[in-house]
C-alpha cells in the first residue's frame, strides 16, 4: 500500500514537473511574440485626420503615421529625407524642382500612387472649396497657387505637373531654398482622391480609411483613442518596428503624468507646469530647444510705442535670465532676437538688459524716470503661465523704469481677435517655425501682412525680406536675412523677443530607441523601436 502511494506521488510529481516545463516554454514563446505597443499622450483630440484640413501638433503626430508626402523628416534632426519622392533636382536657378516618384507605391487599398496623384492632391489642397486653413503655406511657394486658391484663376494656373507617370515637377515663386524641408509639412500631403470622391467627408473613418504612411488606421474612438498598426503595403515596411501605436488625447497634465509614472503611457508629450521643478531632474525628462519664440508685440502705430527709443527702453528694462530661471523654469532660453539659433544664420546680437541705457532712452523720448509715461496694458490670453510672465515684466518695468503697467487677460478667441485687429498696446505672442529657415520668423512682419498685428513697418526691412526671397541658398542670402533682422530687432525693436521655447517630453530612452530630440519636435513613429 505504502509503495503504491509512493509511486503515485512520484508519478504526480513527475507530471507536475513536466507540465511546469511546458508552461515555461509556452511563456517563452508568448514573450517572443508579444506585440510591441507604444502609447502616448497626444495632448488633444485631433481636429481631423485629413492632411489638408489639419493644423496642429496632435494632428501632425498622427499624420506622420498615416501619410507620407514627397519628403519626410529624419527623426534625428528633422532634416528632409526622401519619402514618396525618391530623388529630386533643382533647375532654372532653383525655381523649378523635378521629383522622381518612388516605383511601386500603392495606397493601403492597393491603388497605385504616381506623379498624377501628387498633382491631384495638391490641387485639392489649394481648391477654394476645400477650405484649407493652411493653404497660405503652399501659396508661399508654388507659382500660381495663390491665384487659384483665392479664386482669381483656375486650377491650371498652378504651376505643378506630371511630366510622366513617375516624374513630378513644380515651379516656385523664387529660389526659396528651404522648400524641400517645407514639403514634409502636412499641407503638402498626398491624399487618396479615389477614396475622397467615394466617401466624401467620411473618408477618414476607420472603415473607409485609405493612407500611404508606415501605419494604417485601426480604430478611432473620438475623445478616447486612436490606434494605428503597421501598413504592410508601405514601401519601407521592414523598417517599421512597432506593432501598434495608441494616441490618447489627454488634456489634463496631471493625469497624463500619473499615467506615465504608472506605466500606462510610454511617451508623455508634456509635464505638469507646477511640478517641473521636481520632475526636471529625472533621467526621462527631456527639455529641448524648439524652433519657436515667445515675444511681446508693441502697437507700433500708437503713442508712445511709435517711438523706437521707447520700445528699446522697455526691452532693455527687464532681466530675461531671471525670468526663465525663476518664473518659467522649464529650461527656456532668453531671447534677444526673433530668430532662434539656426545653423548658417549669423544671429542678431539684439539689445541686452541695460537699465541705465534704458533710462537714458526713455528720458530722450521725453519720459525721464518714467514721468509722464502713459499707463498701458499688457494683453495676454488667459493662462497661469502667461500671467506670471506678465506680472514679472510689470514689476521689473515699474521698479527699473518707473513705468506703470496693468494686465489684461482675455480668453483665447477674444484675445486673437483683439490682437489681429491691433486693438492693444503691448500683447503677448508666440510663434513656432514651420520650417528650418529664418524666413519663417521674419516674413510675417512685412508691412500689412495679417500676422503683423503690431503694424510694424519699415520699407528697408520689407525690401530685404523680399530680396532674400529671390536669392539662392548660401551665406549671402543668410546675411541679407540677418541684415533685415538687425533692422527689425536691433534698430527698430519692432517686437520684443522674450525667450525661445523648449519642448518637454518624458520618455525612457533606455527602453525606446529611434527617438531623438530636434527643433521641430518631430518624432516619426516609423523609427521608434523597443530596445531589447
Amino acid at each position: 500500500m505504502k509503495k503504491a502511494l509512493l509511486a503515485l506521488l512520484a508519478a504526480l510529481m513527475a507530471f507536475a514537473f513536466v507540465s511546469c516545463g511546458g508552461k515555461e516554454e509556452a511563456a517563452e514563446v508568448a514573450k517572443v511574440k508579444e506585440p510591441v505597443e507604444f502609447r502616448l499622450n497626444n495632448g488633444a483630440e485631433p481636429e481631423s485626420l485629413d492632411p489638408h484640413l489639419i493644423q496642429g501638433v496632435p494632428e501632425h503626430r498622427i499624420y506622420e503615421a498615416l501619410f507620407e508626402g514627397l519628403i519626410i523628416y529624419n527623426y534625428e534632426d528633422a532634416s528632409p529625407l526622401p519619402g514618396v519622392a525618391e530623388s529630386w533636382e533643382a533647375s532654372n536657378g532653383g525655381t523649378t524642382y523635378t521629383f522622381k516618384i518612388r516605383k511601386g507605391l500603392v495606397w493601403t487599398d492597393g491603388v497605385k500612387i504616381d506623379a498624377h496623384t501628387v498633382v491631384d492632391s495638391w490641387i485639392r489642397m489649394l481648391d477654394p472649396a476645400t477650405g484649407s486653413n493652411y493653404a497660405w503655406f503652399p501659396n508661399m511657394f508654388i507659382k500660381g497657387a495663390e491665384a487659384f486658391n483665392s479664386g482669381e484663376a483656375g486650377a491650371d494656373s498652378v504651376q505643378i505637373r506630371a511630366i510622366d507617370d513617375m516624374t513630378f515637377q513644380m515651379d516656385l515663386l523664387g529660389p526659396l531654398p528651404y522648400v524641400i524641408g517645407a514639403l514634409a509639412h502636412y499641407s503638402f500631403g498626398i491624399v487618396p482622391m479615389h477614396a475622397i470622391e467615394k466617401y466624401g467627408n467620411d473618408w477618414t473613418k476607420p472603415e473607409n480609411f485609405v493612407g500611404n504612411g508606415p501605419f494604417i488606421l485601426e480604430s478611432w474612438v473620438p475623445q478616447d483613442k486612436i490606434t494605428v498598426v503597421p501598413n504592410e503595403k508601405y514601401w519601407d515596411a521592414e523598417a517599421v518596428k512597432l506593432d501598434r501605436v495608441v494616441y490618447l488625447p489627454i488634456e489634463d497634465q496631471n493625469t497624463s503624468h500619473n499615467m506615465y509614472l504608472n506605466g500606462e503611457i510610454d511617451w508623455d508629450t508634456t509635464a505638469p507646469q507646477d511640478q517641473i521643478e521636481q520632475i526636471q531632474f529625472r533621467d526621462d525628462y527631456h527639455a529641448t530647444p524648439q524652433l519657436g519664440t515667445y515675444y511681446y508685440v508693441f502697437q507700433n502705430e500708437k503713442k508712445p510705442f511709435d517711438d523706437p527709443r521707447v520700445r528699446k527702453a522697455l526691452s532693455m528694462g527687464f532681466n530675461r535670465k531671471n525670468l526663465v530661471e525663476k518664473i518659467t523654469k522649464a529650461g527656456q532660453i532668453p531671447a534677444y532676437s526673433m530668430v532662434p539659433d539656426m545653423a548658417g544664420y549669423p544671429a542678431t546680437s539684439g539689445n541686452y538688459e541695460d537699465i541705465n541705457q534704458a533710462k537714458k532712452l526713455l528720458a530722450e523720448a521725453g519720459y525721464p524716470g518714467g514721468e509722464g509715461f502713459p499707463a498701458f496694458e499688457i494683453l495676454y490670453n488667459t493662462s497661469e503661465g502667461h500671467k506670471k510672465i506678465a506680472e514679472y515684466i510689470q514689476s521689473e518695468w515699474k521698479n527699473n523704469l518707473g513705468v506703470n503697467v496693468t494686465l489684461l487677460n482675455q480668453e483665447w478667441a477674444t484675445y486673437l481677435s483683439t490682437r489681429n485687429m491691433g486693438d492693444f498696446q503691448v500683447a503677448r505672442a508666440g510663434w513656432i517655425g514651420d520650417y528650418q529657415d529664418p524666413n519663417t520668423f521674419l516674413d510675417m512682419f512685412i508691412s500689412g501682412t495679417p500676422m503683423n498685428g503690431g503694424k510694424y513697418s519699415n520699407p528697408k526691412y520689407d525690401e530685404l525680406i523680399s530680396k532674400a526671397a529671390t536669392m539662392a541658398d548660401g551665406p549671402e542670402r543668410m546675411s541679407v536675412l540677418a541684415q533685415a533682422e538687425k533692422i527689425f530687432i536691433e534698430e527698430d525693436m519692432g517686437v520684443m523677443p522674450i525667450y525661445y521655447y523648449v519642448t518637454i517630453n518624458m520618455i525612457d530612452l533606455n527602453k525606446w530607441g529611434g527617438f531623438s530630440f530636434n527643433v521641430l519636435d518631430t518624432h516619426p513613429p516609423k523609427d521608434i523601436y523597443l530596445k531589447k
Binding site: S48, L49, N139, I250, E251, L416, S417, A429
Partner: protein
C-alpha cells in the same frame, strides 16, 4: 393629467426656440471666430473657409438655415472637429455623460437619503455629527480636488484602480469608481442635509404623531409615512441636480479621460465652434426642461394635495 402632460410637452417648443435664438445671437456677438489661430490667415484663405461653411451669408439667412437643419435633425458640421458632424459628436458622447451622471446621482441619492435619515433620527448624537461632517466636507471640497486625491491614493499609491479611462477592457467597471465618487460627493452632501432637515420637520408633524398613536412600528412609520413626505424637497432638488450633474462633469471628464459631452460644454464655446455650441445648448436645455417636467409629475404622486389640470 394627459391634457396637462401634452400641454407641457408642447410648451417646450417655444422655450427651446427662444433659447436657440438667444444663444445664436450671443454666440455671434462674441469676438473671434472658429477659424482664428495664432497665425492670422490671409483674407482670401479665410474667405474660402467661410464660404465652405456658409459663414459668408447674412446672419439672418444663417439662422434660418440652421433652424431648417435642426428640424431635419441635422445639427450641421463641427467647425473644430472637421471629420465629424455635431450629431456624431453628441450621439457619441452624450451616453457616457448620461451614464456617469445617472450613476452618480443614484449613488448620491441613495447614500444621501440614508445619511439624512440616520442623522435626523439620531439628532445631536455622534451619528448625526459624523454624517453631517461628511456632508460639509462634500459640499466644501470641489470635485477637481477630490478627483486627483482619489487618483493619488487608489491609482498611484495603492495601485488597485487604473488612473483614468472609461469602461474599456474586462476591468472597465474599475474606471467608473473614482469619477463616480468625485462627481457624486457634493450632490450626496446636499441631499443628506436636505433629507435630514425635511425628515426632522416631518417627524414632528401631526400625521406622524397619529401613526405613532395608532401603535405602528417605528420602521413602518419611517418607510410609509415619513419618507414619502420628506422626499418632496429632495425630489425637487433632483431635477436641478440631474441637469447640473451632467453639465457639471467637465472637470471630472478631463481628469479621468471620459469621452463625455461635458467637455464640449466649455470647449465648444472657447473654440467658437458655433454649430457645436448650439447643439450642446439644445441638448442640455432639453434635458433641463424634461427633468423639470418629470419632477412636476412625480410631485403629484408624492403629494396628493398637488394636482394638475
Amino acid at each position: 393629467m394627459t391634457k396637462y402632460i401634452l400641454k407641457r410637452f408642447l410648451g417646450m417648443i417655444p422655450t427651446l426656440l427662444i433659447i436657440t435664438t438667444v444663444a445664436f445671437i450671443i454666440m455671434r456677438i462674441a469676438p473671434g471666430g472658429p477659424f482664428d489661430r495664432e497665425r492670422a490667415i490671409p483674407p482670401a484663405v479665410q474667405a474660402n473657409i467661410e464660404a465652405k461653411y456658409h459663414l459668408d451669408e447674412p446672419l439672418i439667412k444663417q439662422y434660418f438655415r440652421y433652424l431648417g437643419g435642426i428640424i431635419r435633425g441635422d445639427f450641421g458640421p463641427s467647425y473644430k472637429y472637421k471629420d465629424q458632424t455635431v450629431t456624431d459628436l453628441i450621439s457619441n458622447s452624450l451616453p457616457h455623460s448620461l451614464l456617469l451622471g445617472t450613476l452618480a446621482l443614484m449613488a448620491a441619492t441613495f447614500f444621501g437619503v440614508l445619511a439624512g435619515i440616520i442623522a435626523a433620527l439620531n439628532q445631536n448624537t455622534w451619528l448625526d455629527y459624523t454624517a453631517m461632517s461628511i456632508a460639509v466636507f462634500g459640499v466644501s471640497v470641489p470635485a477637481f480636488v477630490i478627483g486627483p486625491v482619489l487618483m493619488l491614493i487608489f491609482a498611484m499609491k495603492l495601485k488597485i484602480l487604473p488612473t483614468s479611462g472609461w469602461i474599456t477592457g474586462p476591468d472597465g467597471w474599475k474606471t467608473v469608481l473614482m469619477p463616480l465618487i468625485a462627481l457624486s460627493m457634493s450632490y450626496f452632501a446636499s441631499i443628506a442635509r436636505l433629507s435630514r432637515s425635511s425628515v426632522l420637520e416631518v417627524i414632528r408633524s401631526d400625521y406622524v404623531r397619529t401613526a405613532k398613536a395608532k401603535g405602528l412600528s417605528p420602521t413602518m412609520i419611517i418607510l410609509k409615512h415619513v419618507l414619502k413626505g420628506a422626499m418632496l424637497p429632495v425630489v425637487s432638488y433632483l431635477g436641478i441636480a440631474y441637469s447640473g450633474i451632467i453639465t457639471g462633469s467637465v472637470v471630472i471628464e478631463q481628469i479621468f479621460r471620459i469621452p463625455g459631452l461635458g467637455r464640449f460644454f466649455v470647449q465648444s464655446s472657447l473654440n467658437r465652434d458655433y454649430t457645436m455650441i448650439m447643439g450642446v445648448i439644445i441638448v442640455y436645455s432639453t434635458v433641463v426642461i424634461l427633468m423639470n417636467f418629470l419632477v412636476d409629475i412625480l410631485y403629484s404622486f408624492l403629494d396628493p394635495r398637488i394636482s394638475y389640470q
